[in-house]
Subunit: 331 residues, 2 copies
DNA sequence: GCACGTCCCTGAAACGTTTCAGCACCATGG
DNA sequence: CCATGGTGCTGAAACGTTTCAGGGACGTGC
């Protein structure tokens, strides 16, 4: 592998000069610079980032750890974060915990060992052992899609309680009295909050609420929950799902069983992913500004790494209900 | 930041011993080992991967550069690759070129500078300047979802010509004579091959073929193409789309315009992503073994990096047609 | 002719690891 | 009592950069 030394020798200059050509071209005379550049080209020299980073003490990489890349919502978050990072000349590496704490721990450890500039984190557990260990490493981090006390770190989230309430009120307004909630794993704060928002908004209303916990937050889990829902007697007339993937799964189960949506079963999803509008019955969904979430989080992180005296912030966006066929009242 | 030296001093041993505790625990006496371990715990020591890598000369990271993470197909590819990498104790960093050559170039450069163990690459252009530069860096790489001459590198792909032919034959068999093809950017080999497969299979048949090139390979481009399709006179009775995202977009355009699918317009997609089956009208699609693609590519890459004498392979999987409502013949 | 700047460049230190030759010590067998 | 071998540790070199004090050459103003 060709290093800076080889270039220096071949160009007849010192390694310091080569380094200057690469990093501060203006300080070296044009003739020398061109000679060095052509040698670099000739030998195919690529500088070694680990040496560079070792010397510099910090890297040009930002880590992003998301719950599930299979969920388009997080893909959008990643896009937003990438935008902000690129604007500052940083690269983002995206990792997928798949909601598994062990993977989360392993990626966090990797980020710490890499001495990444900072990490955008959408964590699985509340305060796992892994996170505590990571905190000790001193790597700055910002929570994404998760509120956190500003004493600990900055966070950028969407108000999930309000989101749950939005869905609940919409179902009340469209005249439902037997409502089901298909929730994801209770370990996720998002799921707990959405349920809480729903429950609070339903309080006092004459509503029978059935809660099903799905195994995951994906389409397959939704299909499974949908099947269970069909067996519930008396059958609810509406179902709110903790995310759109679940909702799509439930919808598939309904269509498969010949249950008409929304006439026999109204469905509300969460996230408003692009596929929600293209579904068998276009889904009513609670929209979150995913890309904005990622962008804001990355900007916050950049601000904190640039100036450590800056204080933590908790940004909370407000979700928005998008009404489509799946809850449309027919007459 | 606490380093190995701090640990050594505090534990009253040499840095070599600390290193041994971390990397080859068995060679150090139990008493010393425990003392060092507790100091590591106490100080929160995290080893610096860049120093480690600088010394070792190679990293424990594998790069994956995909065309579009917004496409669930590539998310599955990533999942497969991750599985294989983790099995070998490597981490994968996933980057998204979004079909932009400039981003592709920047990520390739980053991989080279990071001295990544190897790269799984699903390239935008055929043989861009970026790729040529990357090749010179000597980083091993394997093409994913793209055939390549074995003289250059290994590749793992699905036979796109066969896939295009599958779709074509299916549409012929279901009695269509005016067929449209909504293709993605011709710069992508996948798109060119699917078109070629289609054309070859239609040869000799009495079919009127209309080809539309969409701007991207996403749902929005599909909607746009769908709108154009509606203006085509005489209107085709069936449309084959270069991927499922396009197909979903076209489907949305049809539903929006009140055109019945499949009666007035049959649709065939490509990739068989999870959402294809949950669409307004469940999509007939050409299925590719995405996860297997990723896993195989990673395994190939690992084999090549372990033993440089191993020769390049071109693995080609065969696609499979999944028939659903969107092309069902009604009577 | 001397002092002083300016412009380019060099040489060496430092970053935090891993690795390896070598040393001290002890137990064992002859 | 010596030779041998094993065990457990140390100290220093090496990895490929960046950075910075310093120095040589040359021009300029007095």
């Amino acid at each position: 592998m060709v290093g800076i030394k080889d270039v220096a020798k071949r160009a007849g200059v010192s390694i310091g000069t080569v380094s200057n050509v690469v990093n501060r071209p203006h300080v070296v005379a044009a003739a020398t610079r061109n000679r060095v550049l052509s040698v670099i080209e000739e030998l195919g020299y690529v500088r070694d980032e680990s040496a560079r980073q070792l010397r510099a003490g910090r890297s040009r990489i930002m880590g992003l750890l998301v719950l599930d890349l299979g969920n388009p919502f997080f893909v959008d978050v990643a896009r937003g974060a990438e935008q902000a990072a690129h604007a500052e000349g940083l690269n983002i590496i995206t990792c997928n915990s798949g909601q598994r704490s062990d993977l989360e721990a392993s990626y966090l450890a990797m980020f710490a060992e890499q001495r990444v500039r900072g990490v955008l984190l959408s964590p699985v557990g509340t305060s796992g052992e892994a996170l505590r260990a990571f905190r000790r490493s001193g790597t700055p981090y910002v929570f994404v899609d998760r509120k956190a006390p500003t004493s600990e770190a900055s966070s950028v989230a969407v108000d999930d309680i309000a989101g749950g309430a939005l869905a609940a009120r919409h179902l009340l307004e469209t005249g439902h009295h037997r409502i089901a909630f298909v929730n994801g794993p209770a370990i996720l704060a998002q799921c707990r909050d959405r349920e809480q928002g729903l429950r609070t908004a339903l309080e006092g209303a004459a509503v029978e609420l059935t809660v099903l916990e799905a195994i995951g937050l994906d389409v397959a889990s939704g299909r499974d929950a949908g099947a269970r829902l069909l067996g519930t007697i008396p059958r609810p007339t509406a179902v709110f799902c903790a995310n759109d993937l679940l909702a799509l799964g439930v919808l598939q189960a309904m269509v498969g069983a010949g249950v008409r949506v929304p006439d026999e079963m109204a469905i509300v999803g969460y996230d408003d992913i692009e596929f929600a509008g293209a579904a068998a019955v276009p889904l009513t969904s609670v929209r979150q500004p995913a890309q904005r979430l990622g962008r804001t989080a990355a900007e916050l992180l950049l601000a904190e790494t640039a100036d450590t005296t800056v204080e933590h912030q908790a940004v909370v966006f407000t979700p928005e209900l998008v009404v489509r066929e799946s809850t449309r009242v027919r007459r």
